[in-house]
């Protein structure tokens, strides 16, 4: 006989948002079920590789004692501006990064996410994997009352459902919380390889003294063929995560295949030596929502809240997402606890969650950089032009030609004018400033 499965709360999706929500609610005694479609929690998850500890500490103050599976602490971070055959590097390395736990670590999600899910299980959450949620169940007034899974006798009921389904937010769309499917203009595709390499080689190549040091480099310019986007090079314990991310629209417009862009980047004369002798171990791709603050779905409706990538919670400029997701999941969980105490699951009550996010870095940052995607969209030449320019300037600056320095400076100004008028440069800078200031 079919049994009616009833819980205090349902979480859809075992990413950082969903797991943080489930952990928060289970810890306060709510009977919580987390439903994940992957073979295990983390099976569908994938990212560049930097995890910020502040969001984990907010969720689990004693996380360090629970031995999270981190790769390397970040002790050097920065940017490389890549031209077709050269690079200008600007990175920051500091002894101040060296404290335990560090501010940020490189992480492999297939290891980190199961660990986080285990913490949620320990807190009492029921984690069910290999089960997909097909749709959200609503009563006659539209209030969300549960979900239907793809299992026989698979309906689950709860007064509150937290949707953390990830970037491909079909449930959010079907509920009408967002009108449109993800437009290719506002979603990035990142492809990544994990190249396995002995730790001593990684340390020698990146100038690291041991496993207690690690580097995270974001790379612009020729890495993405001068198109808007970034590439990255992160050091893991015994491997390097290397990848490129570009808006889907760019791949479509320029008829590029993601793996070709990555292969081109890997063969760049500056990049290639870092990978020499490494064995490609894993290849993966994932979408990243870059919809921005103004195109977020409604975050709460009767009986339901949305968190993480499903709600477009990504700060692309600072390559942050998991920390936003984890914070949002925690806040959604806290609101669900209050809703249970008040016995009120209405949209009005659950909007507390949106308020909490507006008061936190999550929506403050997203609001500040609300114009960033538009900026790149309307200034597509930006990365390519200035990355090449910087490299050409460097070459001129660091070579002596037996001419007075004043002439060299004039030549440099001339080089800029050849590429972009003074008016164009001024316009680019004003646009950039505006995009940064929100």
């Amino acid at each position: 006989m079919a049994t009616k499965h009833t819980f205090d709360a349902i979480v859809v999706g075992g990413g950082p948002a969903g797991t943080a929500a489930a952990l928060t609610m289970a810890r306060s005694g709510l009977k919580t079920i987390l439903i994940e479609r992957g073979n295990f929690v983390g099976a569908k998850n994938f990212f560049g590789g930097v995890m910020y500890t502040h969001a984990i500490a907010d969720l689990l103050p004693d996380f360090w004692e629970r031995t999270p599976p981190f790769e390397r602490p970040l002790t050097e971070q920065g940017y490389w501006m890549l031209a077709p055959d050269s690079v200008v590097r600007m990175t920051h390395k500091s002894e101040h990064y060296k404290h335990e736990p560090a501010d940020a670590y490189t992480v492999l999600r297939a290891q980190f996410d199961p660990w986080l899910a285990e913490q949620a299980s320990k807190a009492g959450a029921l984690v069910v994997t290999r089960t997909a949620v097909l749709r959200v169940l609503q009563d006659s007034k539209g209030k969300v009352i549960g979900v239907r899974t793809d299992r026989p006798d698979g309906d689950v009921y709860a007064p509150i459902v937290i949707i953390a389904e990830g970037v491909n937010n079909l449930l959010t769309q079907r509920l009408g919380l967002i009108k449109n499917d993800l437009p290719p203009r506002f979603v990035a595709l990142a492809v990544k390889e994990y190249i396995s390499l002995p730790a001593k080689d990684i340390q020698a190549r990146f100038g690291l003294t041991g496993a207690n040091e690690g580097a995270a480099i974001d790379i612009f310019g020729d890495a993405t063929m001068g198109l808007p986007g970034t590439a990255f090079l992160y050091t893991d314990k015994a491997g390097i995560s290397i990848g490129v991310g570009m808006l889907l629209d760019e791949f479509i417009q320029h008829k590029l295949r993601p793996y070709e862009v990555l292969a081109r980047f890997k063969n760049h004369p500056v990049i290639q030596p870092y990978l020499e002798g490494g064995k490609p171990f894993e290849y993966g791709a994932h979408l990243i929502p870059e919809t921005g603050y103004d195109r977020m779905p409604k975050l709460a409706a009767d009986g339901v809240m949305v968190a993480g990538d499903a709600a477009g919670m990504v700060d692309a400029l600072h390559r942050e997402g998991t920390n936003l997701a984890m914070t949002a999941g925690r806040m959604a969980g806290l609101t669900a606890i209050k809703a249970h105490q008040a016995g009120d699951f209405s949209a009005t009550f659950l909007n507390q969650y949106r308020q909490d996010l507006e008061n936190s870095f999550v929506l403050k940052d997203m609001k500040q950089y609300r114009r960033m995607t538009d900026f790149l969209d309307t200034t597509p030449h930006f990365m390519g032009t200035y990355a090449n320019f910087l490299n050409d300037v460097a070459l001129r600056y660091f070579t002596a030609h037996g001419i007075p320095k004043r002439d060299m400076e004039r030549q440099i100004v001339g080089m800029l004018q050849e590429r972009r008028s003074f008016f164009g440069v001024a316009q680019d800078m004003v646009k950039l400033l505006r995009a940064m200031r929100g």
């Binding site: 079920i33 029921l126 069910v128 309906d155």
Partner: protein
């Protein structure tokens, strides 16, 4: 009705590699799965439970990680999972493994009589197919190997009619209960587990048995001590060379065929007189 299913957690051999120096499987970082035949054995037991009531017990011998496999069996409808795990059981061959499983089953049936024992026909990491028959011999119960269908099963009259795959076709066997079956995948297609089983399995903790609690095993018969098998050499056979291509366009049909027949003759495969 009480069925006991013995399963094994194995490396997913679809992406397994061999260490060229030792000739053994590289198990590090290779995902593990339930031996594919074994999950069908579980399914068969669950179907009989659905028909006649009763319980399904699943046992396995393996490292602590093998608990995952038992939990997956609970998802598929098993009621009880027992993990027999002890360092002293390590490096067991099929003789030692069949002793441990048979001894465990004796303990289980002393508490709760067993009508049916189910095994997969073989494990994909060893491919011996010896453990099931070994346990049947030790327990002195009828063995039906390579079973593909249960035509009838009567727990009251204590009789079953089972189809088994043999080289010439299918053999239909009538057998008395309790019996031991080793099964092919055809025995029962695996159904998608209902959500209630998933919820039950999410918090299920299999029982852990060591070499001395709750059952005392004879230490001389387990693990490497109880395993007379000696692996002389394990190697990867050299890849086969590509075959010769005789172009009809270049040589003409007659010459090409003649040359092909000569080559076949030289390989001592067959001799042919050509009358074209």
């Amino acid at each position: 009705m009480h069925s006991v299913v013995a399963i094994k957690q194995v490396p997913d051999t679809t992406n397994v590699r061999i260490n060229p120096e030792t000739g053994t499987l590289i198990r590090d970082g290779v995902p593990t799965i339930i031996n594919p035949y074994d999950i069908h054995a579980v399914e068969m037991a669950v179907r009989l439970k659905e028909q006649f009531g009763g319980t399904v017990t699943v046992i396995t011998m393996g490292p602590p990680k093998a608990a995952e496999a038992l939990i997956e069996c609970v998802e598929q409808g098993a009621d009880r999972g027992i993990l027999i795990s002890d360092r002293r059981f390590g490096a067991a061959d099929t003789l030692a493994t069949s002793y441990v499983l048979a001894h465990a089953i004796e303990a289980i049936r002393a508490e709760h009589p067993v009508d049916l024992l189910l095994f997969g026909k073989q494990a994909i990491d060893g491919d011996t197919g010896q453990v099931g028959p070994g346990v049947a011999t030790r327990l002195n119960v009828p063995l039906v190997s390579y079973a593909i269908a249960v035509e009838s099963f009567d727990p009251v009259k204590r009789r079953a009619v089972i189809h088994r795959k043999i080289e010439q076709g299918v053999e239909v066997v009538e057998v008395s209960l309790p019996l031991l079956m080793t099964v092919e995948k055809e025995i029962a297609p695996v159904k998608r587990a209902p959500l209630s089983n998933m919820i039950k399995a999410a918090t299920y903790k299999p029982e852990m048995w060591s070499a001395d609690t709750p059952v005392q095993f004879d230490i001389t018969q387990v693990g490497i001590k109880g395993s007379p098998t000696i692996v002389g050499k394990a190697f990867t056979p050299p890849p086969r060379e590509a075959g010769a291509i005789l172009s009809v366009a270049e040589k003409g049909l007659r010459d090409a065929v003649a040359q092909a027949l000569t080559m076949i003759g030289q390989a001592h495969v067959v001799t042919v007189d050509l009358h074209v």
